[in-house]
């Protein structure tokens, strides 16, 4: 078997094989971000990538080149690996855009992986997004590599001497500290029209302290033990669903703010209103009774907040495991004291 492969790579037929592969690089493209639009441009009538024999093909089994367009998340890495393994040898990988190179705008983010750790990469195409010319140049470079056998960059950048004065005076020091952010107040009273005020008064009659925070916006603060009672009262009042569940991490005050935005589809005068039902939790013991039984639409969003912040919604069945994040994501990535990978400054 080894001998046969060696014969294929350097035997008497190798030049023919190289010629065929050279002119027939069919890219299967894995679009994860905006670079896909640039790839479409590169193969449309303006630039026409088919000129150089590259035909876009949807199926990995029958192609020999994969173009990864955009950031690869932890979940997507698996897909990339499977797609790459499906392809028959000889196969090549081109990574397009800055996101695949070093993360781009998602640099040092908890959910990204580096594509070159997942698959062996032949060429990187820089740019955010890369231009069609750059992509076609990348394919040409790959053709050159197949023909001559040696990979090389298609461009050499001029080296610029940064003088002493341009040095950054102080590089950021590690470990980084959490800044003492100004305290976050959710229920700042603001001016509003009469109807909203009237509605807020009506809700206040239920025994709940409301604040009007804008036109059709009402905030309502409760203690964490009273949350379920308050939700039941509001349900009887006419609110029938949760639009959004939100958690705000305030580490310098040692608390989480948990918000439920309630709305109504069934009662006409409540339809434009968004009611912010919020409570505060200590960071050391972030436990709360779930509202998923009362408002079923809160279920998934509570799971997601559990993924991100580690707030335990007691009564929700999904607590303690990952819902939307990949299983190997580090725990509670949106907490403010989450430790990111330390970056290194060269100078």
């Amino acid at each position: 078997m080894e001998e046969n492969i060696k014969f294929l790579r350097s035997g008497i037929l190798a030049p023919i094989k190289k010629w065929g592969t050279h002119w027939s690089l069919w890219p299967v493209h894995l679009v994860t971000a905006c670079c896909g639009a640039e790839l479409a441009h590169a193969f449309a009538s303006g630039y026409d990538g088919e000129r150089i024999g590259a035909l876009n093909y949807g199926i990995a089994r029958q192609t020999n080149l994969i173009i990864v367009e955009g950031a690869i998340t932890r979940k997507m890495a698996r897909v990339l690996r499977i797609t790459w393994e499906q392809m028959p040898d000889p196969k090549f990988v081109i990574i397009m855009g800055t996101c695949g190179l070093n993360g781009g705008v998602f640099w040092n983010s908890y959910h990204l992986v580096k594509p070159f750790e997942v698959v062996p990469v032949n060429y990187f195409i820089p740019g955010c997004p890369s231009t069609p010319e750059a992509l076609l140049r990348g394919i040409r470079q790959l053709q050159n590599e197949i023909r001559t056998g040696e990979p090389r960059s298609s461009i050499e950048f001029e080296k610029v001497d940064l003088g002493k004065g341009k040095m950054m005076p102080v590089t950021p020091k590690s470990p980084k500290k959490i800044s003492l952010a100004p305290s976050i107040v959710v229920n700042v009273p603001r001016k509003a029209d009469e109807e909203t005020k009237k509605l807020a008064d009506e809700i206040s009659k239920l025994g709940l302290a409301t604040t009007v925070t804008g036109k059709n916006r009402i905030a309502l603060r409760v203690e964490k033990d009273e949350l379920v009672d308050a939700a039941k009262k509001l349900q009887n009042f006419g609110f029938d669903h949760v639009k959004n569940v939100n958690v705000i991490d305030v580490p310098n005050e040692d608390k989480f703010i948990v918000e439920y935005h309630l709305g109504s589809y069934s009662k006409r005068e409540l339809m434009p209103v968004v009611l912010n039902l919020f409570t505060e939790l200590p960071r050391s013991e972030p436990k709360l009774k779930s509202l998923a039984k009362i408002f079923p639409s809160a279920d998934y969003m509570e799971r997601e907040m559990h993924d991100f912040f580690g707030v335990v919604f007691e009564g929700n069945e999904w607590m303690g495991r990952k819902f939307l994040l990949a299983p190997d994501t580090p725990e509670y990535p949106l907490k403010k004291d989450f430790k990111l990978e330390e970056e290194k400054y060269l100078r």
């Binding site: 065929g20 002119w23 088919e50 000129r51 150089i52 024999g53 093909y57 040898d89």
Partner: protein, 379 residues
């Protein structure tokens, strides 16, 4: 003593071989192509022993029909041409130039060759779930119904097997091809392949019945299933004699070879090439060309039935070679016009295509049959 026996046996063996060669030579030379253009060359080569056997074999009419033209070599040339032409045509429709850089002086005409070589040298993956034996042998077995009709397709004097039931036999063998495609999908043992096989089976019933009825209508018109009779009677082309059958046949050609308005079993954007999804390397190269080959066969029959077959120009210097050439050129022109449907039409849904096949299309074919009966009485 032993040496004597061996030499004696050797003599017998030599005699038998000589007899075989001379016998074969006699068979080949009795039915040879007569091409005045290369006659001096042939005469010179015939004087060399053994080479003359090879030359006689190549110019033996049945061999020439099946292997050279309109048989295998013609098929190969046609494949290289049509894949390139289809890509180029689609590119022009979309305001692009299409493959060109591979060979600039000839506008990239060898692009299909490069793709073929790439497929030939690529790894052929056999995935774990496949029924290994069937999976490997079916793409190769599928050549049986491709090659068998070539035996019965005549071109003037050049014909593999001469029979009065030629047209029926060609149709019968063409009808076998979808079985192999369905079997490929089954052997691949994958979801997309399963859906693709199912669609192929549905489509098979949608087009095959009207297609056969259209051919039967033309057999009524000519009063015989003999391709020679069909071509002889076409003083007026068959397309004018029975235009309904002509239309039905064209639609059948598009449907049977999964051209775009009916590209339902393969639908690469939906089910990733359906029955062929798991094939890679040389095996995919074989199955991808399968439908092009089917198109070639159906177009050959189309030319014989509707466009006057090999009757066209006659160049005296080409002799017997003229008829296959005319047939081949007509076929390639027909297909080259037909492939434009790929770049101008959208895809039908499966249920729409089947509804079309079983209602208006079937009705049209029956009307063609009735018209064929009347015309058959008149002609």
């Amino acid at each position: 003593m032993e040496a004597l026996v061996i030499s004696h046996q050797k003599q017998i063996g030599d005699k038998m071989l000589e007899g075989l060669i001379s016998g074969l030579f006699k068979i080949f030379t009795s039915n040879m192509m007569n091409i005045p253009l290369i006659e001096p060359l042939v005469d010179y080569l015939m004087q060399i022993p053994l080479v003359n056997l090879l030359v006689a074999l190549i110019l033996w009419r049945p061999f020439f029909a099946v292997i050279i033209l309109p048989g295998l070599v013609g098929l190969l040339i046609y494949l290289l041409w049509i894949v390139y032409w289809e890509r180029k045509l689609t590119a022009r429709v979309q305001w692009r130039v299409g493959p060109i850089e591979v060979a600039r002086p000839i506008r990239g005409a060898i692009q299909a060759l490069a793709d073929g070589i790439r497929y030939f040298f690529q790894e052929a993956i056999i995935h774990r779930e496949a029924h290994k034996i069937y999976y490997i042998q079916l793409p190769i077995l599928a050549f049986i119904p491709i090659l068998l009709p070539l035996l019965f397709i005549p071109a003037g004097n050049v014909v593999g097997i001469k029979t009065p039931y030629g047209i029926q036999l060609i149709v019968a063998f063409i009808a076998l091809i979808p079985l192999f495609i369905v079997a490929m999908g089954w052997a691949s043992h994958s979801r997309f392949a399963y859906i693709g096989s199912l669609r192929e089976a549905f489509m098979y019933f949608a087009y095959e019945i009207p297609f056969i009825i259209a051919v039967v209508a033309m057999i009524y018109v000519y009063g015989s299933g003999d391709p020679y009779v069909a071509v002889e009677k076409q003083n007026i082309p068959g397309a004018v004699l029975n235009p309904l059958a002509f239309i039905v046949y064209i639609i059948a050609m598009i449907m049977a070879t999964s051209r775009l308005p009916f590209e339902i079993p393969e639908a690469d954007q939906e089910i990733a090439f359906g029955p062929f999804v798991e094939y890679s390397g040389i095996l995919f190269g074989l199955v991808m060309t399968l439908l092009y080959e089917k198109l070639y066969l159906m177009a050959l029959l189309f030319v014989i039935l509707f466009l006057g077959g090999w009757e066209g120009f006659y160049v005296g210097i080409l002799g017997d070679f003229c008829a296959p050439l005319v047939l081949f050129i007509k076929t390639v022109v027909v297909i080259s016009v037909l492939v434009i449907v790929r770049s101008v039409y959208a895809r039908y849904r499966l249920d729409q295509a089947i509804r079309l096949g079983w209602t208006s299309y079937l009705t049209l074919s029956i009307a063609a049959l009735i018209l064929g009966m009347f015309v058959g009485v008149l002609v």
